[in-house]
Amino acid sequence: MLVAGIKSRPVYKGLTIEPHAKRHIFALEGEGATALIDQKPAFDETILSRSEILYVACGSKGKGHDTALLGLGTDVFWTAPTIATLLFRLKGLLATAHMGIRLYIAGTEGFIGQAMTVGLEHGMDYASIITEHRGSLARRVQCVHCKGITDDVTASPFTCSHCGLTLLVRDHYSRRLGAFQGVNIDAEDRGSAPDPEELFL
């Protein structure tokens, strides 16, 4: 069960290297590493010398994506232990950046949404940030009732990890929060919610 066809549902166009950029910042999570590795033929010395990778392995630990990314030979390659650490570094980087820099984000939707929010907070235009979805379809969902955010939601309905209500996951998306909307599905008749379906594996 899913409420779909809503305009705010993000569209991820896929990674392409912007040839004129003075600096390329790649924020990659998990399988998002492969989006950049697939771009390898597009790299030349100039692009490599201007590129900086911020990588958090998450679910891709043990698959060796870090070695492959390091092997690309970019100017900077840095791995973060958690998404929060990666976002903190990204903030620091954008705070002193100049026009001409480009931000590329690849990974799960929850990660793209959070990294995108950092870009928007630093005055980047939504349409100028280049994104590609890779890996799990798991969603980051905000409960509209208690406002708590639950990461890695794979089923709908699911139980809010903050207030315990049964939430239907909608396609309604907030750029500001980088999260989808979850709405109580059995408000009138507690316990009448349909069985959860694994929609976002």
Binding site: E18, H20, A21, K22, R23, L94, A97, H98, M99, G100, I101, R102, H122, G123, M124, D125, A127, S128
Partner: protein
Amino acid sequence: MSGGTEVPVRVTKVTPVAERIKRFRFERLDGKPMPYFSGGAHIIVSMHDDGHVRRNAYSLMSPPHDCAAYEISVLHVEDSRGGSTFMHERVKEGDELKVSYPVNLFQPDWRARKHLLIAGGIGITPFIAMMEQFTREGANFELHYAVRTRDRGAYWKELAERYGSQRIKIYCDAEGITMPLGRLLDSQPLGTHLYVCGPSGMIDGVLRAGIEAGWPEQNLHSERFLSSLPGKPFTVELVRSGKTVRVGHHESMLEAIEAAGVDASFLCRGGACGQCETGVVTCDGKLLHHDVYLNDEEKAAGRKVMICVSRFEGKTLHLDL
């Protein structure tokens, strides 16, 4: 009228500003305040020139919060089609005119961290109102203004005095001082939006330099003062109204169609907004698209034409009007 509501106004002041540039102040005949506008907006001034109606678009340069009057500046164009000559030679203090409600096709992006304004010549006018608004909103801005000679450049002195030399930079061709565009583009903080207004060649150059400096197109904004170019006279058939309209050498299709009593839609009259988009029913000949609204594919397809600035050469042109 399709360009929006018109307001009857009186010309309450005409001020010579610089060589070939005059400022006009308009107040409403009924004494009411003018509608609010936002920095970057323009109005269409209707001029009745011996039975011929001329309509030109001019950027509003008075402070956007001040509804007592509207002010515009008019450059007397060297090979004027008549509008700027009319404004310069015929319009006097006390005259009555009609102006349209304001329309803004050059809106600043209010999410910007900083606004970088680049003006050439008379292209300064939309920025004068914008800077008033930026100042009131506490927004960060910087103006880089290129003039041919000091006496032909309007307002540079007043602006430098009002906003200071940190924010206002003047570049004078005659003194051999050119704008360091590359350095400017490379040194802007993330989140800067650029706005350029001036001669077409300058706009093209600045936009191209922006893309080459790695700026996303979303951060580059421009406004052109296009006017319909003169050309060979031609005839156009309007299929819905069943009229045949002769377009003269100095006339635009839109002007000729209006003169024939057909109400055609428009907003900018400068090939930028897309409001006057008209379907081409049949075309045996060549459409001369002069607008910046249609993309190259649409222009090549020849199924639409912007009648405010485009022309036609050939045998027959039938429009859906």
